[in-house]
Amino acid sequence: MSDVAIVEQVETEAPSAGLPSRRTLFLGAFLVLLIIVVALVSFVWTPHDPTLVSLQNRLAGPGSSFLLGTDQYGRDLVSQMMVGSRTTLFVGIIAVAIAMCIGVPVGAVAAVRRGWLDEVIMRLADVVFAFPAVLMAILLAAGFGGGTVTAMTAIGISYVPVFARVTRGASLQILEREFVLAARAYAVGPVRNFVRHVLPNISHVLIVQATIAFALAILAEAALSYLGLGTQPPTPSWGRMLREAQTYISIAPRLAIWPGLAIAVSVLGFSLLGDGLRDALDPKFAERGKEPR
């Protein structure tokens, strides 16, 4: 969890010119798009029913009828992984949404109000930050039972401090700029001023942070499902597939390899996308006028 320490990166460092960062962006975007497409396709088509148990096909090897083989209950691995990508994306989206919806306003208030309120908010953020997502999920699961919702909420809450800090740090810099001061001089109120002048100017930092948080949320969901605190059966989830595979690892290692690979690839995809975006959205290098807001 400590790799979230890329926190108050307000000014991003200069990208190493040209191609490498472009390639990062495109490769990341490609991998992310691939997962999204697979998840969308799984709604209308999968090779087999991912939850259909058929004992005569149990632990069938890869072949023409089952591309990657089946698990101990004879369920098709490809189908399970396709539907599992839905869970992964869903958890990531909701977790990041929770984190942003709470973190951004909280960070904004801290930056605008400063003083004791800022201190209190940031120290509270530190307390939450010290809580790993897994511990949070165990706590929540103890109260509300394990499940996808618990996992999403736990991951979301544990990323609130990240967004609060990033928002605060980036906002402080923009709030010092004279266009914000000028806006106050013609009666633009603090909330409006933030939404109109500060938020568009820190959006690139938030987009990058969201992508990175997404990658980490995927990892956290897999970890929680592995521990049995995340997605519950029979809904397929990559993390739980890993856990179920470990009993059969000596007989059918592919049951662990493929979901593991899926997790690795999706985390890599979102991380690369985040890195690529950071360079591409850097206001010092992008043509500002043509940038999406």
Partner: protein
């Protein structure tokens, strides 16, 4: 000049900043940015405020705009106090007093189109009227092309950006324009253009101007009266000509003597005053 209510009246204004403690022992240090300052701004004049950096000029500007609260003292705008008022009661001031900042890069939102930037004060203050016509007039009056409104600030040069900032400041038709070093971040060749533009606009839109500068030739050229600040205090105030020709305070003398001149139209102070001033 006939005696009337001054547009700004400042009495015993103090603004001090508490510095963070640097040691456990010893009290908190206070820095006085503005120290018991009193002056008036007359309707229609151009008042120069001159002083070296750190002399409290910009803090003074922020206080006059009610963007900052004074530690003590009183500011009257058109006869009414603006000190300690909640934002709601400052609407009159917000409409009538506008500012142009030094850095035209920092004073325009890079993510907004120029047209939107210039119209923002009108919309924010809820001023009624034909926006399009107003925008067209403003853009033309500061000497920008009509198609500038669809572009972004970074597409313009420093001088053009300053013109955008001036158009925005004049959008609500303010009675007072505070120009905080409006030309000092620009190329020398552009400085004169901007200053002349301000002079022309002042004649056209009939506002009172406060010109903050550390550049004496700017003040000499633009202002009828000048106020000299040094370490948060006003050391001298009077008609520009009088202050420049017969400076009373040693600091003013030193300031005038330090100006490099080509044609020598500024009086030279005797060298010994330099020593006692600093």
């Amino acid at each position: 000049m006939s005696r009337q209510v001054p547009i700004f009246e400042v009495r015993d204004l103090v603004r001090s900043f508490r510095m963070p403690r640097t040691s456990v022992r010893g009290g908190q240090r206070e820095v006085q940015a503005v120290t018991t300052v009193s002056f008036e701004v007359n309707r229609g004049e151009t008042l120069g405020i001159v002083g070296e950096s750190g002399s409290g000029k910009s803090t003074l500007a922020r206080l006059l705009l009610a963007l900052d609260r004074p530690t003590s003292g009183e500011i009257l705008f058109e006869g009414k106090s603006i000190v300690g008022l909640p934002e709601k009661k400052l609407r009159h001031l917000r409409r009538q007093v506008q500012i142009v900042f030094q850095d035209p890069m920092g004073s325009l939102d890079p993510r907004m189109r120029v047209g939107k930037i210039i119209l923002e004060p009108i919309r924010s203050l809820g001023i009624e009227g034909d926006e399009k016509a107003r925008l067209k007039e403003l853009v033309a009056s500061v000497g920008l092309d009509a198609d500038s409104v669809n572009r972004y600030p970074h597409e313009f040069s420093g001088g053009q950006r300053q013109r955008i900032a001036i158009a925005r400041a004049l959008a609500p038709r303010p009675r007072v324009l505070i120009a905080d070093e409006p030309a000092s971040a620009l190329d020398v060749s552009v400085q004169a253009q901007i200053l002349n533009l301000l002079d022309d606009l002042k004649a056209r839109f009939d506002f009172t101007m406060m010109m903050i500068s550390h550049d004496l030739s700017v003040i000499h050229h633009m202002c009828e009266r000048v106020l000299v600040m040094h370490r948060g205090e006003i050391v001298e105030i009077g008609p520009t000509r009088q202050v420049f020709e017969t400076p009373q305070h040693p600091y003013t003398k030193a300031l005038l003597a330090s100006v490099p001149t080509l044609d020598g139209d500024l009086p030279e102070a005797p060298p010994e005053t330099l020593v006692e001033a600093t």
